[in-house]
């Protein structure tokens, strides 16, 4: 198992390096530069002065080498749109905010989704199945900003239960989490339902029934264990998505999260922030894939045994 993990970490670094290089050249090749997006009537001389200061006038390759050297010393550089702010501090301040909303929303969405999926599959073609399918359908087709706008208006204006925008208390958490857990809930419900349906057709369920095992135990011990495995592969990609936050929810509820920051950094051509955040996102994405593979190996004996010999 240890060799397996080491090899994967090596691959992770290679992938990370490729992504960084790809994003670097991508970001630098789209039109516009940090300063023109900030100041409207910039005289040419000031613009050249600015480009000189940050070394953007040098050929791209030179900039790339400088960027990589800087990176190896662990310095992700400074933001250009907000001079003086270290990218590392930006991540330290904003990632937990996005992480909390995303994390709780995913946890609720995942748990409730799995439950609904099982209920729907066990009552195939009866009203619970239909109900869950309709809910899942609504969850995926209604855009997030509709939920957010309606919830915001109803629960902060007509019935002032929660603060409309901002961040700081538990009250600020409720509405954004409610909007964000609709997506995962819908997808996990549908996905779990199809996985449970597959498993219930297997023969070992019949053996369990023949053993006189109670239906609750059949569901929890036999059906759940085997149908849960495919969901793990899905959960790891969504875990990676938590920190990148949701641009829409964060703008509507004015939450200082990474989602809004990343999109505006791209629009402002804030190269160092875009590259810095992208490294963090890619890192968490690949890490979560590694964790999920390890988790899968632990839980699914077939893969673990295959890995060992």
């Amino acid at each position: 198992m240890a060799k397996f993990i080491l090899k994967r970490i090596l691959y992770m670094l290679v992938v990370l390096f490729c992504v960084i290089t790809l994003t670097f050249f991508l970001v630098h090749s789209i039109p516009g530069d940090p300063i023109t997006s900030m100041v409207q009537d910039l005289p040419i001389e000031t613009r050249d002065l600015y480009l000189q200061k940050y070394g953007f006038d040098q050929p791209l390759i030179v900039q790339y080498v400088k960027f990589i050297q800087q990176l190896l010393t662990g310095d992700l550089g400074q933001s250009l749109r907000y001079p003086g702010r270290q990218v590392v501090d930006i991540v330290a301040n904003y990632a937990p905010v996005s992480g909390i909303i995303g994390g709780i929303a995913l946890a609720i969405g995942f748990a409730v989704g799995i439950l609904l999926g099982i209920i729907a599959a066990l009552n195939r073609n009866r009203w619970p199945d239909r109900l869950v399918m309709v809910l899942a359908l609504l969850g995926t087709t209604i855009p997030t900003f509709v939920f957010a706008a309606v919830l915001q208006y109803v629960f902060t204006v007509t019935v002032p239960l929660f603060p409309t925008t901002g961040w700081g208390t538990w009250g600020h958490l409720v509405l954004p989490v409610a909007c964000m857990c609709v997506g995962p809930l819908a997808s996990y419900a549908r996905y779990m339902r199809s996985s449970v349906l597959d498993i219930t057709n297997q023969d070992f369920i019949l053996t369990a029934e023949a053993k006189g095992v109670s239906s609750f135990r059949i569901v929890s011990r036999h059906i759940f264990r085997n149908s849960f495995l495919p969901c793990i592969t899905m959960i790891c990609t969504s875990i990676a998505g938590i920190f990148s936050g949701s641009f829409i929810i964060e703008s509507i509820f004015a939450i200082p999260g990474l989602g809004k920051y990343f999109i505006s950094a791209i629009n402002d051509r804030d190269y160092s922030v875009v590259l810095g955040l992208n490294i963090i996102f890619t890192g968490t994405y690949i890490l979560s894939i590694l964790v999920c593979d390890i988790l899968l190996a632990i839980i699914d004996p077939r893969i673990r045994i295959a890995e060992e010999n």
């Binding site: 219930t200 297997q202 023969d203 070992f204 369920i205 019949l206 053996t207 369990a208 029934e209 023949a210 053993k211 006189g212 095992v213 109670s214 239906s215 135990r217 011990r221 036999h222 264990r225 085997n226 495995l229 839980i299 699914d300 004996p301 077939r302 045994i305």
Partner: protein, 341 residues
């Protein structure tokens, strides 16, 4: 001998897109204590559905046990039981093993856990005691070094061994009835013989009655006390193993017996193979189901269903040849007089 299990007028059907498939049409039989009954017939004759009906395992595959069917096991009306009461019997009083051991064991549970699960479902014991019981069971079914095997997973064992684990699971609480649904079909011949010997010794040792569902008459001859030949959801001939092997009366039984390789050596003739395929179970039964494939078919066979006619109190045949007006027919060469140890 008071009967352990009595089945009366069992009808099971499946609703499919093309209509109602009547898989079992009015089967009645009973089974005494320590008695081995073999249900024989081509695939699709309803033997497996009947066995599953006894254990009420048909709900998942959409099988419906029709009104008027009655199944009594140790004095209890199986069909009337609630699922909770049924679960108290299933796995403890009666249990079942299946054909394909590869898919019949939970791939993500160790062998030990799957055996102990049966024990825990029916008895309150400590984990340690259950573990010892499991090892004892594995020894019973002759699996080498059971302690290590306990921690193995199904995909780490061979077909034969997995089937033995299935038996160990079934015998965990010394059931008085074991239903074996084609236990040896998926195994090669040598393993088959070992398994049947094992089953026989366990039957004796635990004075267990067994229903063996198979399409391989060779296996039946050495194991069963009574044999039931089924065709298109009905019993066409039944009797003790001697009556069926020595003096079969039904043309379908003759056809089955003449296709056993062992017997053909004496007559050096080509192996007899029955033409045609079993009838479609959608059609309501107005004639003898075997009529289209029966060499001795008579117009009456196409007009009316033959009633079961009991030659002795154990040997019944449902065939118009038994009718006094029918011509006397002798079974083909080599049939009858088959001696079995």
């Amino acid at each position: 001998m008071d009967s352990l299990l009595t089945v009366k007028n069992l009808n099971v059907s499946f609703n499919t897109y093309a209509g109602e498939v009547k898989a079992v049409r009015g089967v009645s039989f009973d089974l005494g204590v320590k008695e081995a009954l073999a249900m024989v017939g081509e695939s699709g004759c309803g033997k497996t559905v009947t066995s599953k009906a006894v254990m009420r395992l048909l709900s998942r595959s959409g099988g419906i046990i029709k009104e008027g069917s009655r199944i009594e096991f140790m004095g209890q009306d199986i069909l009337g039981l609630s699922t909770r009461e049924l679960n108290r019997i299933r796995g403890s009083k009666m249990s079942m093993i299946f054909q394909d051991s590869m898919t019949s064991l939970n791939p993500t549970m160790t062998i030990g856990n799957q055996i102990m699960e049966n024990i825990f479902t029916h008895e309150k014991t400590t984990r340690q005691k259950a573990r010892e019981r499991a090892i004892e069971l594995l020894k019973l079914v002759e699996i080498p070094n059971p302690e290590t095997r306990l921690k193995n997973y199904p995909h780490q064992l061979s077909g034969g061994m997995r089937q033995r684990v299935m038996i160990a699971i079934a015998l965990a609480l010394n059931p008085s009835l074991l239903i074996a649904d084609e236990p040896t079909t998926a195994l090669d011949v040598t393993i088959q013989a070992q398994l049947m010997d094992l089953l026989r010794s366990l039957k004796e040792r635990f004075s267990m009655s067994v229903i063996l569902v198979t399409h391989d008459l060779g296996v039946v001859a050495d194991f069963a006390d009574k044999v039931q030949v089924m065709y298109a959801g009905t019993i066409v001939e039944r009797g003790t193993v001697d009556e069926i092997f020595d003096s079969p009366r039904h043309p379908y039984t003759w056809a089955l017996l003449s296709s056993i390789p062992g017997r053909a050596q004496e007559s050096k003739s080509k192996l007899y193979s029955l033409q045609g395929t079993p009838p479609d179970l959608l059609l309501p039964l107005q004639q003898c189901p075997f009529a289209p494939r029966c060499q001795y078919c008579m117009p009456i066979c196409k007009k009316a269903i033959p009633k079961e006619n009991f030659l002795t109190d154990t040997h019944g045949v449902a065939c118009w040849l038994q009718h006094p007006m029918a011509p006397k027919v002798t079974p083909p060469a080599g049939i009858g007089g088959y001696d079995h140890e």
